[in-house]
């Protein structure tokens, strides 16, 4: 503070010495008071007008512009935030719908597959049952046939052999003896056939 004051005194004394010299060498035109009043008058006039026009007309407009911009930006940010939130909500809903659909589709697929599998199983089971029945029937038939065929074959063999014997010797032979022979032979044959 003291330094400043000293400096100011120095500056002032400098100015005054200059003004003292100005009479002889022309010096500083600043210290020639000829146009001081004129400068003060024009300064007050121009600066006053500048101040009035700036403060009444121009600065309020600029501050207004700045404020509108600020509020508009805030508003825009707000709407942007709102829209973003909405979008997020929508995205969530969308995801949910997709997930739901996926699970539904999965369930549907699973249930349908189960149905088809069950159907196939049922059909297969019934088919197997049918087949088993058929097989049992066929086996029974075969067994029957096995039983009956033996007798028929021996019968036929007896008949043909009796016929053959009749034609050969023209005489009927006792059927029981013939049948005994045939049975004996066929037994042998069977044993041979079965390969013992």
């Amino acid at each position: 503070m003291l330094k400043k004051i000293i400096f100011q005194f120095l500056a002032l004394s400098l100015i005054f010495t200059y003004s003292a010299q100005s009479a002889e060498s022309g010096g500083m035109p600043q210290l020639n008071p000829e146009f001081w009043i004129s400068q003060i008058f024009w300064l007050v006039l121009t600066f006053g007008l500048l101040f009035i026009i700036l403060s009444k007309f121009i600065l309020p407009k600029i501050s207004n512009n700045l404020e509108t911009r600020k509020s508009q930006i805030l508003e825009n940010i707000e709407t942007a935030d709102k829209q973003r939130e909405e979008t997020e909500k929508k995205v969530k809903e969308f995801d949910k719908i997709i997930n739901d659909t996926k699970t539904e589709a999965k369930n549907f697929f699973n249930s349908e597959r189960q149905k088809v599998l069950d159907d196939i199983n049922n059909k297969r089971l019934s088919l197997e049952k049918d087949i088993e029945k058929e097989i049992i029937k066929a086996e029974e038939e075969i067994n029957q046939l096995k039983k009956t065929s033996q007798e028929k074959i021996t019968k036929i063999a007896i008949e043909t052999s009796s016929d053959l014997v009749k034609q050969l010797i023209g005489e009927d032979i006792n059927k029981s003896s013939l049948s005994a022979i045939v049975e004996d032979l066929s037994k042998k044959e069977m044993e041979k056939h079965n390969g013992i």
């Binding site: 400043k4 000829e34 700036l54």
Partner: protein, 243 residues
Amino acid sequence: MAANPMYQFNVYRIGPEIKINNIDISFTNASLFMVISSLTILIIFNLGTKRSIIPNKIQLLAELSYSFISKMISDTAGSKAKPYFSFIFSLFMFVLFCNMFGMIPYSFTVTSHIIVTFVLAAFIFIGVTIIGFIKHGLGYLKLFVPSGVPMVLLPLIVVIEIISYLSRPISLSVRLFANMMAGHTMMKVFGGFVVSLGIVGGWLPLGFSVALTGLEILVAFLQAYVFAILTCIYLNDALNLHH
């Protein structure tokens, strides 16, 4: 005569002599540059008031200077200084444009005249003092009594504070005036060297002159800024009395 580095500060009449009650208020070159500066400020800032959300260059300039000065005021003098915004804005712009117009060759620097800066500073000084007394009444005199000073030193401190307060307009005006005058005189002197040393030795002072031009443009801005910020500080003293 043109070789005299002080010649550039001469004030001369333009047009007829205007006298009211024997007082000379003729239009001079100083008045011309005041008018030019004010009109330029008004034109630029009027162009900057277009209502568009995305500003063009001039609007951006106007709005940036608006927020620059607004921030400067609120930083130094607080929110109470808001009503004085347009005055400080006008002051800063006026001083800045006068300084800058002074940088154009063959132009006239309004702020290189002590009377102009002194009138501005005195107006600020008187205005700030009046504001202080209106806001705080006689309590404004507490400004001269800093708190926490030992009683022995108090008389001395009060005297120093009063002297420093009273020297505010002088320091404010002399700072601006001396800076402008010194810079312009120096540039003129170096320009004179360029001419007198000719094509052989003139290059060095020419380089100096170029560097000084840059420096002077910086000083022109800086002094306008200092002028405005000191006004804010004085205003802060008057508005928020916390000594």
